[in-house]
């Protein structure tokens, strides 16, 4: 029988995987090829540096607030400075608060993102 559908299990990790990132004050690498969903609990002021970004990539980063008034910065894209456009939402570092950052890369130097939190 001919294959007529691309199934989930044949897609690369960049579309299907989940990766837990370690909080770091020296920059956290978000390797786009490794996963589609990234999670991290803020334990430092974090700068996310994106690598292996391809045009059209959509990534989800779930940042759990660390309660230390930590800050988040979106840093480089594939090693170069990037332009980020905020569609809405702000980061809340309240301990345990989950911040869902959905980010769409419209080029390898520009992305659009929004931050959402669970309704209380």
């Amino acid at each position: 029988m001919a294959l007529t559908k691309v199934t989930h299990n044949v897609l690369e990790s960049r579309y299907t995987g989940s990766s837990a990132l370690a909080s770091s004050s020296t920059g956290v690498t978000v390797d786009s090829s490794a996963a589609n969903v990234f999670t991290v609990t803020a334990g430092h002021n974090i700068t996310f540096n994106f690598t292996n970004i391809k045009i059209g990539d959509v990534k989800t980063i779930i940042v759990t607030g660390g309660g230390g008034s930590y800050t988040l910065t979106l840093g480089t894209i594939n090693g170069s400075s990037g332009t980020y456009n905020n569609l809405g939402g702000t980061y809340d570092d309240t301990s345990g608060t989950k911040n869902i950052i959905e980010i769409k890369f419209v080029s390898t130097s520009e992305a659009w993102y929004q931050i959402s939190k669970a309704a209380s």
């Binding site: 700068t47 800050t71 702000t90 570092d93």
Partner: protein
């Protein structure tokens, strides 16, 4: 605390820092909670208000203190000055009226000079024009 940043060549006062800012070393998601270093790196300088009396002074001409790296205003005296001048003129008129034009003497002129030197309305009002 208010900050000032030059945007399109003009200083813009931010009474509250933006939550999101596209900075020179990244895109800050909670810029308002960043450190002083980050704010300065992105040229958001502190706005320090000089001491002034809003009853008779106002703040004008926002400028950057290059040495201490903050913005501040110059203080300009308000209408009080012209009110003071009006009061001085009234006092001098009274002085001359009391003295009669023919009898204006050095002592009258000296009193006029003294009146002109006064720096508050109350001092002018209380000034003794008796010769």
């Amino acid at each position: 605390m208010a900050r000032v940043k030059v945007i399109n060549g003009k200083p813009v006062v931010f009474n509250k820092l933006p939550e999101v800012w596209q900075g020179i070393n990244g895109h800050y998601l909670n810029f308002d909670k960043m450190s002083e270093d980050i704010w300065l790196e992105n040229e958001f300088f502190e706005l320090k208000l000089p001491e002034y009396n809003p009853e008779n002074q106002k703040l004008v001409n926002l400028y950057f203190n290059e040495i201490e790296k903050f913005y501040t205003y110059k203080v300009k005296d308000l209408e009080q000055i012209s009110e003071l001048d009006k009061e001085k003129n009234k006092k001098i008129a009274s002085l001359r009226e009391n003295s009669k034009i023919e009898t204006i003497t050095n002592s009258v002129l000296e009193k006029e000079i003294e009146i002109k030197k006064l720096d508050t309305i109350d001092k002018v009002k209380d000034f003794d024009i008796t010769i």
